[in-house]
Symmetry: C2
DNA sequence: TCAGTTATACTCAAATAGAGCATAATAGGG
DNA sequence: CCCTATTATGCTCTATTTGAGTATAACTGA
């Protein structure tokens, strides 16, 4: 049934030339604890869990789960693929390295401190991304002036104009709104403008400007940015937030989690309206009287919505204020 | 700066265990010609262009471009990554095969017929996906009865219920709307229910039911479904349709292209309203008097929107009728 | 009992989306 | 030249959806 062209192609896939490939699995594992989004790291909080895809692994996903558990002891729940990229291995040999990155969502267990891994607030890496308490001072004070200076230092007029527009768009300048999804674009601009530590590595320019945000090894911070961007996009149309919630929760807790992820505040009443009218949750019957004020009903996620609509829709109101 | 845990991890990536990996690049290349979406195929229109990622390739993308050009002579414009998956190589050796799939958008050049490749309407592979002329007869006549029968043949009550719900959701039964984005979910249901030819391959069940849609080798039809789903989703929030358009076009031509992709019709006046108010296009000044009726203005895509908003938004009105 | 705080129910207006009507500008056939 | 068919284009109208604000309700702690 298979024809010759096809056979030839598939045959080629098995011959020598493609042998020098190794595949790494890299995990961006997120939890939200006490209203802060956190990422699972290893080393000195400067690396994401990762390891090679091996013959023993039944699938990419199971290989990833195995690595994360081995390195951090933390079992993974929900995971989804982020992106695959290839790098010529920098250590000199002819090997080509393929990295397949995943986004994982869990809840941070009451685990012991460990020297080999830990949870770290993601805004440590991206301090300019948290707009819950208004625009972070670092933006107008440091980043924007430097970004604009970088844009203006371009010789070519078109390049200058292009840089300015990209900055304005990514950082919501002029009359534009801040778009919390553009995490990756912002990181890349900062990288291009050499305003993150990673940018200095390859080069020999000796200007170690004090530069914001904790760096990571290799391109791990970039991968983290990709994961954050994906998550910020996805919570708006899929019920993934619930992967980060305990079995029962109040609507305010749910709201705080969404706000933590989005890095911006939400209109409380509208948030409730949207959640309720979508039938995403049901009351447990209990009520919580924790932080002063009227006790809140507790809810649980209606697991059935996952069955009903495998690709269910969820909407979240992210106000502009 | 790097700590030991990390070094050890990255070291592991280079040792023996991960050596037996080869990476394939697979392309879903789409064009829209005469109001029909078409996919670039090789062989007897039963395979997607693909080939191994090799040392000579500068990047995954350039490797993909090289393979597509070599196999089809067709240069690629816009491409984006779709998904990466791994299979144990079925030919018996211990090799693990990683496939990285891409979506490419171009325009079909006035090329010669070729025995080794060609363009094929994508609805040949998914006849149930074209709802432009109403619900395709194949759905009520063949697929729905068989799908429901498949759901009911489950022993377990919960499984039965779950199957029914998935079918109802994916195919828009009862009061639900048809959701054109669920291409992959529908294909997977049909696969599970053994209603596509590919499903019979691994098994020895000898019931070669007449089954709809042209099959492809391996999992290529599944990859194509992934690409179609991605494209149908993406045209709603990114200005990617224009990659498929000639330099100048009328609004109706643009509309027909969108309809071809979405597999459903669009409200003409609202379509224009949306396109125009988003400043996506500008008049060329010319006018077309082709198919009877009042001549239409010709437009071109405002290339600057790509610069203005690297991740620009686009909205399209997909009516329910 | 009062002040502070959160929960929850509603109301209102602006923006968006879905549909339909009306008019304009062509080609082609009596 | 007039009439008909056909597509282009401009506008109106209504139902929804979204963003925001007001008004109560139900607790805790002083």
């Amino acid at each position: 049934m298979q024809d010759k062209t096809t056979q030839a192609t598939r045959q080629a896939a098995r011959n020598n030339r493609s042998r020098a490939v190794s595949a790494d699995l890299i995990a961006v594992v997120i939890a939200v604890t006490n209203g802060e989004p956190r990422v699972l790291t290893i080393g000195h909080a400067d690396a994401l869990p990762s390891g090679p895809f091996e013959l023993g692994h039944r699938s990419l996903q199971s290989g990833l789960r195995a690595w994360v558990e081995r390195q951090t002891g933390h079992p993974l729940g929900y995971i989804e693929q982020l992106y695959t990229f290839a790098d010529r291995d920098r250590t000199g040999d002819e090997r080509v390295q393929i990295s397949i990155s995943y986004l994982g969502l869990t809840r941070e267990e009451q685990t012991e401190r460990s020297p080999t891994h830990g949870w770290r607030g993601w805004y440590d890496y991206f301090p300019w991304e948290d707009h819950r308490a208004g625009v972070p001072p670092i933006l107008p004070a440091i980043l924007m002036p430097r970004l604009l200076a970088w844009a203006d230092e371009a010789e070519d007029m078109n390049l200058r104009h292009n840089r300015r527009q990209r900055v304005a768009y990514a950082f919501g300048l002029d009359d534009r709104d801040w778009n919390e999804e553009l995490v990756l674009q912002r990181y890349e601009l900062l990288y291009e403008a050499a305003l993150v530590a990673e940018a200095a590595r390859g080069r020999d320019n000796g200007s170690p400007l004090s530069v914001p945000g904790r760096p990571m090894i290799a391109d791990h911070r970039r991968i983290l940015a990709t994961g954050i961007a994906r998550l910020r996009t996805k919570i708006k149309y899929r019920p993934v937030v619930f992967e980060l919630m305990p079995p029962a929760f109040t609507l305010l807790q749910l709201q705080r989690t969404v706000e933590a992820l989005a890095g911006r505040l939400v209109h409380k009443q509208n948030f409730r309206r949207l959640i309720e009218q979508q039938d995403l949750v049901e009351e447990t019957g209990e009520t919580m009287s924790d932080t002063g004020g009227r006790p809140a009903k507790r809810f649980r996620f209606r697991q059935t919505v996952l069955a009903e609509r495998t690709v269910a829709g969820t909407k979240l109101p992210l106000s502009r204020a």
